[in-house]
């Protein structure tokens, strides 16, 4: 069973940042049947040779891959740059994008801890203090109060600004900013309206925009690659053409349909924006979209322009500059193609990046109307514009709500209306909708598997989600009944795949994961039966 939190005094809070304490897998939230006897494998520590190069977080995990400094001068430089960045974060010139919500959250937390129990990582870990939603925010607050605000060093202990800023604190704070999926479940429960996810994102931003420190999967291998090569997957237009050719053949073979993949069709109704990860990992998702749009007689297109074929925008998770560059490019592609609208495919963060967040960034001359695929699909399914046979989906189905689509955008009902129509054995997880738990792969985590991060992601970050999945299927949990975990988001699917693999949930429980369009196509009478292939992939 869980013990209480282990730190008891204020002084220990700082020491928590500087002393390494690995995750104790025995404290993780227990799982229900058939996992009562499940023994988690411990999360490996970094090896000595890794530790020579990389500084882990206070929990022994490394995501940001912060290099070990070569000299004391370098350490001092990091601290000075951090403080400089913090000052910039508090200026309107450098941070107009989020200054108001940031200072509101920084200055008004009443430390009531109402948010703590809402956090899947904090609770899933067995209440490790460094994962508490307020922990990172509180460290930052103390630093601002002590080192940035005038008179900060007067009676620091009395005022709670009892933190000594040094290199250890700075780099561990950077690393800890990658232990929160920015799911904003904590923010939802805060009576004051404070948003610890936003503060965490601001910390990431400071490190990225001032010190050039960020999770490599988000930066070098993410936005930088996307802005130069065209996609964070490394896919270039030539590779894209191959994938489309393969998709056409696959549709012919699997569904018995002859559907061309339209590319760069000027003036189309929709430019469909997919997460390019789908093309490589789940091509059936791209194919299902094509089948549905063709069946509905919609004039749609894909783009082969750089960035036009990859809707991801990892800048959303760590860097306003990179975010803006990618978002502007996306809209530029759509505008140049002269499409009427953009349709965001099954990717949660792309929804948020292209719709609400971009709303105040895209200049009028580049503006293109943008819509969620879930809303269009709802129209096609509920208004019977597709011929469907729900009995083809006669297996238990549950829905994972991507945080960015539900909690951050309020698109909740369309996907449910679809499932109620096409999946007779659909059941909800609890809690669901805007109150869902994050899959544990949010804010870029799903694409990070380096060092020991994927082990942390499956055991800790995804723990509560996995428990929810088991509970949703509890009545038919045996492996004999094949079950479908519907996750209409590429990054969530990546995390679901890793959860199912780590917990052996395909073999033990017969749980398979996939998108929503695959389920729709699986029920389409014009499509050969068995579009969903019951194989773990």
């Amino acid at each position: 069973m869980m013990e209480g939190p282990r730190i008891q005094t204020r002084e220990e809070m700082s020491s928590f940042l500087t002393e390494n304490e690995g995750v104790d897998v025995n404290r993780l939230v227990p799982l229900p049947f058939p996992y009562e006897d499940w023994q988690d494998e411990p999360i490996p520590r970094l090896t000595d040779s890794q530790l020579e190069r990389i500084v882990p977080g206070p929990d022994g995990i490394a995501a940001a891959q912060i290099p070990v400094p070569e000299s004391d001068e370098e350490r001092d430089r990091v601290v000075a740059s951090f403080l400089e960045g913090l000052r910039k974060l508090l200026t309107k010139e450098n941070n107009w994008t989020f200054l108001q919500p940031f200072i509101l959250s920084l200055e008004n937390c009443v430390k009531c801890q109402t948010c703590a129990d809402a956090c899947p990582i904090y609770t899933g870990s067995g209440e490790m203090e460094v994962y508490r939603p307020t922990f990172r925010a509180e460290i930052l607050r103390k630093i601002v109060d002590r080192y940035i605000k005038p008179g900060g060093s007067i009676f620091p202990k009395l005022r709670g600004n009892d933190i000594e800023l040094d290199w250890d604190v700075v780099v561990r704070l950077a690393e800890l900013s990658y232990r929160c999926t920015l799911c904003r479940r904590c923010a939802q429960t805060c009576p004051v309206g404070v948003d610890n996810a936003l503060i965490t994102r601001e910390i990431r931003k400071l490190f990225s925009q001032e010190l050039g420190i960020a999770m490599p999967e988000l930066h070098e291998k993410g936005t930088v690659k996307q802005l130069t090569v065209g996609s964070s997957t490394g896919l270039n237009p030539a590779g894209l053409a191959d994938i489309m050719e393969f998709a056409e053949e696959d549709i012919q073979e699997k569904a018995g349909l002859n559907i061309p993949m339209p590319m760069d069709v000027e003036g189309a109704e929709y430019l469909v924006m997919h997460n390019a990860g789908e093309f490589l990992s789940w091509p059936e998702n791209l194919q299902a979209f094509a089948i549905i749009l063709e069946a509905a007689g919609i004039k749609w297109t894909l783009s082969s322009e750089l960035l036009g074929y990859d809707s991801v925008n990892y800048g959303l998770f760590y860097d306003d500059v990179q975010y803006s560059r990618v978002a502007l490019k996306h809209y530029e592609v759509a505008k140049n193609l002269g499409v009427k609208k953009m349709l965001v495919g099954e990717c949660g963060h792309a929804h948020k990046a292209l719709m609400p967040i971009a709303d105040r960034l895209i200049p009028e001359e580049l503006r293109v109307r943008t819509e969620s695929c879930l809303v269009l699909l709802e129209d096609l399914v509920v208004n019977e514009k597709l011929l469907l046979d729900p009995s083809r989906n006669d297996f238990p189905v549950t829905l994972h709500d991507p945080c960015n689509i539900t909690r951050s955008m309020g698109i909740v009902q369309p996907e449910r209306n679809i499932l109620k129509k096409i999946a007779p054995r659909f059941r909800e997880m609890e809690p669901h909708g805007v109150h869902n738990y994050c899959c544990g792969g949010g804010s870029g985590f799903a694409i990070c598997s380096s060092l020991n991060f994927s082990q942390w992601r499956t055991r800790v970050a995804g723990r509560l989600k996995f428990r929810q999945i088991l509970e949703a299927f509890a009545d038919e949990i045996g492996p004999g009944t094949k079950k479908y975990l519907c996750a209409p988001c590429s990054n969530c699917k990546g995390q679901m795949r890793d959860l199912i693999n780590y917990y052996e949930a395909w073999d033990r429980c017969g749980i398979l994961y996939g998108g929503l369009v695959e389920l729709i196509v699986n029920a389409m009478v014009d499509v050969r039966e068995g579009f969903i292939e019951w194989e773990m992939h």
Partner: protein, 296 residues
């Protein structure tokens, strides 16, 4: 002499309180327009019961936007009057926080009532109400603050995040609440209170009993430092809800905002990381990538 000093202290505190709150509110209100950061459920959306937004509609931009202002008011009222969020998510704390907040609300109400009497709007009924307000408000404040103090000292989760000054603040409120009860009970009908306050604030030289003087001094002290603390959440919450969580207005509905955003794009950026390429305006930084040809 004590009366003059006390009068001066009260005025100083009142001015600091008003000025401090105004400055903080001004800081929040004049911050630049930010990118959207809505969080659902949004109280004014018709789909609020399931947390829905206008994005749930096909071609949402062609639909008339329905905004239920009344629902927003109800949601705010439930938060302010019932502490609904704390009730739902932190029941244990609610038992202390709810009486504490209501104690303060009643004390604010009682003070406003006293001001009304000071300008000649008194009546026997008002006096009874004010006495009740002082006793109940003071009592709830005192007990609520005491309960919070105990919780913040014994509950490990709260203790770690509670500073010595937080405890001192709660002690001030325990004292103030207790003294208010003593005065409301000790000055039956509170008949002398309005006149005493008028004299105090106009430096009229009336003698104020020691307990009452202490109550006034402590209450004023609380007002003095309040704007420096997170207790300004009583108005900051307006911004966190209305200008962040529930701010889902699309840009085209607000041309003023569009021009403020335009101005923001002209701000100079001096972030130091290489990929930013600082030393230029936001507009330039967002549209070019260091090391690549402009517009490439």
């Amino acid at each position: 002499m004590v009366g003059y000093l006390l009068g001066g202290w009260v005025w100083l505190c009142l001015v600091t309180f008003a000025g401090g709150c105004l400055l903080r509110a001004f800081k929040y209100a004049t911050a630049p327009v930010h990118l959207r950061w809505d969080l659902y459920p949004v109280a004014h959306e018709p789909g609020r019961d399931h947390g829905g937004s206008y994005f749930e509609q096909l071609e949402w931009w062609t639909k008339k936007r329905e905004k239920d202002h009344l629902a927003e008011i109800f949601a705010m009222a439930a938060e302010i009057l019932l502490l609904k969020g704390v009730w739902e998510n932190n029941r244990r704390l609610w038992w202390a926080s709810f009486p504490f907040h209501w104690g303060l609300y009643l004390l604010v109400g009682t003070t406003l009532g006293l001001m009304a009497v000071m300008v000649g709007l008194g009546s026997p009924f008002v006096t009874v109400v004010l006495t009740a307000g002082g006793v109940i408000g003071g009592g709830l404040t005192c007990l609520g603050a005491l309960a919070l103090l105990v919780m913040r000292s014994t509950d490990q989760k709260l203790r770690l995040y509670t500073t010595p000054l937080d405890r001192a603040n709660l002690l001030v409120l325990v004292l103030f609440g207790g003294l208010t009860v003593a005065i409301a009970v000790g000055f039956p009908g509170m008949n002398d209170v309005p006149a005493g306050l008028v004299s105090l604030l106009s430096f009229g030289g009336a003698t104020i009993p020691a307990v009452w003087a202490l109550q006034i001094a402590v209450g004023a002290l609380f007002l003095f430092y309040l704007p420096l603390t997170r207790m300004v959440h009583f108005f900051a919450k307006y911004f966190t809800y209305h200008q962040v969580r529930w701010d889902d207005q699309p840009i085209e509905e607000n041309p003023k905002m569009a021009s403020r955003l335009q101005a923001a794009l002209a701000f100079g950026v001096d972030w130091s990381a290489d990929h930013v390429g600082g030393g230029r305006t936001w507009g330039e930084v967002a549209t070019t990538i260091p090391g690549m040809e402009e517009g490439e």
